[in-house]
Amino acid sequence: MESGDKVWEVFIQKKSGLPFKHAGSVHGYDKKMAVQNARDAYCRRGEGRELWVVPANCIVSVPMDEAEAYFDPQEDKIYRHPTFYVIPDGVENL
């Protein structure tokens, strides 16, 4: 078991095949405690069938001061959105 009071990010999958979605964070001293705490805090009302916890310090994020360089250039590129296609009936989860 690892020691130290760590923060873990919690991801929930609603049902098999769907992507995992970030739900929030929990404290936990070790992996087992983290996944149990995540279950008790976020999965008591049928929110999901699978659960991931990831140590928060393992997640790499875009530096705050580089956000403009990362994200602003896409704003005027309308052709990147699939809005020119008709989605057939019966396609779920798109």
Partner: protein, 250 residues
């Protein structure tokens, strides 16, 4: 009005119902008193599972007895001597080690019982057992993991867990003082006792906790309605509102 329980099936089930009810009430005292937020939620969650389990059992008892009493009547309108919970679950939340050790020893016990009840001939009990075993399995894993963390954590956490186990083992003897009713509705009492003892011995050894001997208890048995000093206090708090305001609705 004293509420008696007359049918043997109900007399057997009420032992389980009362045990789950009282542990649920005890654990509810931990709400807002957990060591940190996530554990607080976990304990309250387990407490609600216990009370829900008790309610399901009281409903079955009510159907078997056929006296027109509700689950609430059984929970809130019986006195101390009319309760049949094991003494282990009445013990107080002295510190977090007590909460965990009590939960662990209880969970192993009821896990063995409900596993045997999967083939029970009492109406609806097999189905209920299947459902509650999932809850118990989770609670059991949660408690056992904490037994290891406390037992091999620090000298202080080990000392506290040892003190809790030493105290709680005083109430382990009566768990296996089976009477004719237990023998009638449990499929294998020897297996139950051996299953509990071997699982607990393994966990205590891995958690670096010395296993106390199980001595004969010099108190009368819970099956006759005898309890430790704590049950009356639990009931007085738990039953105050429905007894003071019998028509209260919420």
């Amino acid at each position: 009005m004293a509420i008696t329980i007359d049918k043997e099936q109900a007399q057997f089930l009420v032992r389980l119902a009362d045990t789950e009810m009282i542990l649920g009430q005890r654990l509810c005292e931990m709400c807002s008193n957990g060591p940190f937020l996530e554990e607080d939620i976990a304990l309250s969650n387990i407490a609600l599972d216990l009370i829900g389990r008790a309610e399901q059992l009281y409903i079955l008892i009510s159907e078997i007895e056929g006296k027109g009493l509700s689950a609430d009547d059984y929970a809130y309108r019986r006195n101390e001597r009319e309760y049949f919970s094991i003494k282990l679950v009445e013990q107080p939340n002295t510190d977090f080690a007590w909460v965990i050790a009590r939960q662990y020893l209880h969970d192993v016990y009821v896990k063995e019982i409900f596993t045997q009840l999967l083939s029970s001939k009492i109406d609806k009990v097999a189905g209920l057992s299947e459902k509650v075993l999932k809850e118990i399995t989770y609670s059991h894993v949660h408690a056992r993991d904490w037994m290891f963390r406390l037992g091999i954590g620090t000298p202080e956490s080990n000392r506290r867990l040892q003190a809790a186990v030493d105290h709680l083992f005083k109430y382990a003897g009566e768990l296996f003082a089976f009477d004719s009713i237990d023998k009638k509705f449990l499929s294998d009492i020897t297996k139950l006792e051996q299953g509990w003892k071997s699982a607990v011995a393994l966990t205590l050894a891995e958690a670096n906790v010395k296993q106390p001997e199980i001595h004969k208890i010099y108190m009368r048995d819970y099956r006759e309605g005898f309890h430790s000093e704590y049950l009356g206090h639990i009931l007085s708090e738990m039953q105050f509102l429905p007894r003071a305001y019998p028509d209260a609705k919420w």
